[in-house]
Symmetry: C2
Subunit: 314 residues, 2 copies
């Protein structure tokens, strides 16, 4: 087991095994993360972070894979982080869908990593930004963050991205479903995938009229809608172009600095809250929380009074 400094050095040199080890340390909430992040800090902030979100079945994996191909054709180094925030049960991420990414497995300019975020330990907000730092410091020009499975917090993942792609597809009742989940509000670029199928133009039309309803000032970003057939790579150059335009606008308008500032504040807060939660965890050990829970259950005290007691004890 190499020392932390050595591991970080190797990751910065682009050694994929060193990158993988550092991300495993994040999954395991290793005590050495503190040192890792301190060593990485001066080498971060360069990568563009791209969120990919959408309901199951719209073709997220296929689109991500096609996007990787498009960025690679342009000579950019790409990291892919497939986040699975939904299962607190699994220690490793579910790799079922990841087979589509195998075409990139031997490309040294691509890192692909699934990550289980284990809901309970600070979750997505705690682990994903740290994994982004690792990929960023390892020299990725673009990092794509994609959520896996249903039931995940798309909105939370979108909050980590510089640019969020929201994917839709015809024939899934997506107009309504997406609106429900609030994911339309987080989209910077909309992708209507499976555009060769019946109903694609309707999805575009619905989307366009929904977008038009949002108020915008002059100079505000207007979300483009790009049609793709990701499985055949069609439209991916248009997606890359839209992403680059969005990034240019973000830099020009100051929005990039604003989003990244918010992200840094959220990250600091998530780490602080997790540290405090760990202290709560320690309280389980000394049975104080159990005693309070019992009193709440019997109606002797209310949960606010119990929380006061806990905060006191920290």
């Amino acid at each position: 087991m190499p020392a932390v400094a050595e591991l970080v050095r190797r990751a910065r040199d682009g050694d994929p095994r060193a990158v993988a080890r550092l991300i495993s340390q994040i999954e395991d909430a290793s005590p050495s993360l503190r040192e890792v992040m301190a060593l990485l800090a001066p080498h971060t902030g360069r990568a563009a972070v791209l969120g990919v979100t959408g309901s199951p079945g719209v073709g997220k994996s296929t689109t991500t894979s096609a996007l990787v191909r498009a960025f690679r054709a342009d000579g950019r180094r790409v990291g892919v982080l497939a986040v699975d925030p939904s299962s607190p049960f699994s220690g490793g991420a579910l790799l079922g869908d990841r087979v589509r990414m195998q075409e990139h497995a031997t490309d040294p300019g691509v890192y692909i990593r699934s990550m289980a975020t284990r809901g309970h330990l600070g979750g997505v907000a705690w682990s994903t930004p740290q994994a982004l730092r690792v990929l960023d410091a390892a020299g990725c020009d673009v990092v794509i963050v994609e959520t896996v499975g249903v039931g995940q917090s798309e909105v939370e993942v979108a909050a980590l991205a510089d640019t969020t792609l929201v994917l839709l597809a015809p024939g899934m009742g997506d107009g309504i479903q997406a609106a429900k989940a609030g994911i339309l509000e987080v989209g910077d670029v909309f992708v209507v995938n499976k555009a060769d199928r019946d109903g694609a133009d309707e999805v575009v039309r619905d989307l366009r009229s929904t977008i038009r309803l949002a108020e915008r000032a002059p100079g505000d970003w207007r979300e483009p809608i790009v049609k793709t057939v990701a499985v055949r790579g069609e439209g991916m150059a248009d997606v890359v172009e839209a992403v680059d335009k969005h990034r240019a606008w973000m830099e020009r308008s100051g929005e990039l600095a604003r989003r990244r500032g918010r992200r840094a504040r959220d990250e600091i807060e998530a780490i602080a809250v997790t540290a405090l939660r760990r202290r709560f965890g320690d309280l389980h050990g000394d049975a104080r929380l159990d005693v309070l829970a019992e009193k709440v259950l019997t109606g002797e005290i209310d949960p606010y009074a119990a929380a006061d007691d806990i905060i006191e004890a920290l």
Copy 2:
């Protein structure tokens, strides 16, 4: 605006408007909640909490409505809490699907309430248990907690229930999707809805073999699989029977006390964490967090060092 004590008294008498007001106070994170919860504490702990979860399109709303009918036929008072944890944008809950519940709107033995949990203020773990307390104290025998829309944390909602129903339906690729989200692991009773459609028996078979893989000791609960056609009310009596059996097992085995203990601990922790987060929020005001975020962005310090500083400041 009646005083808090008066509002609580009315809610305990079963006044639906008082119940609605108290739940609105939870949505708004009203400062008076503290007093509300203190007044409610001695009158809680009686209601059975039933979680209803499953992918979009399996018929959650229809099943919930049919279940309400079945419980009412048995003379039980029912509360329904439709939780929408996915949208941090909306102040009120989305009521689109709720039209199916309208048959119960005039029944004084049924409370129906949609609740937006506004992701950022402690979320589901903070707000839902408090709303459960209100419905519990208002005399509900059963409270059904149902999640609305996609992208929600089914697992988180299941953690609040005494008994969790996991719904599946044929023709949705649900076997795989459900397994991805980890929702099979949280099911106490499985419901295969739309059982009159092609493929229902296959879903039952897939489910049965998945369940069989889980290890169980003698005396452990074995999750039943119930076939329903909720839209016609078929199979609902079987669901109620399965739920009651599960509850009896929970009481007998001590699992009910264990789950409720865990729930009370989670609730106390969620309230404590939210209180601490509010203090973080206050730090935004004094610009300390902004300064730290800027230093993290420029790589001057790492987020752990920033978090230490924040904890210090609390």
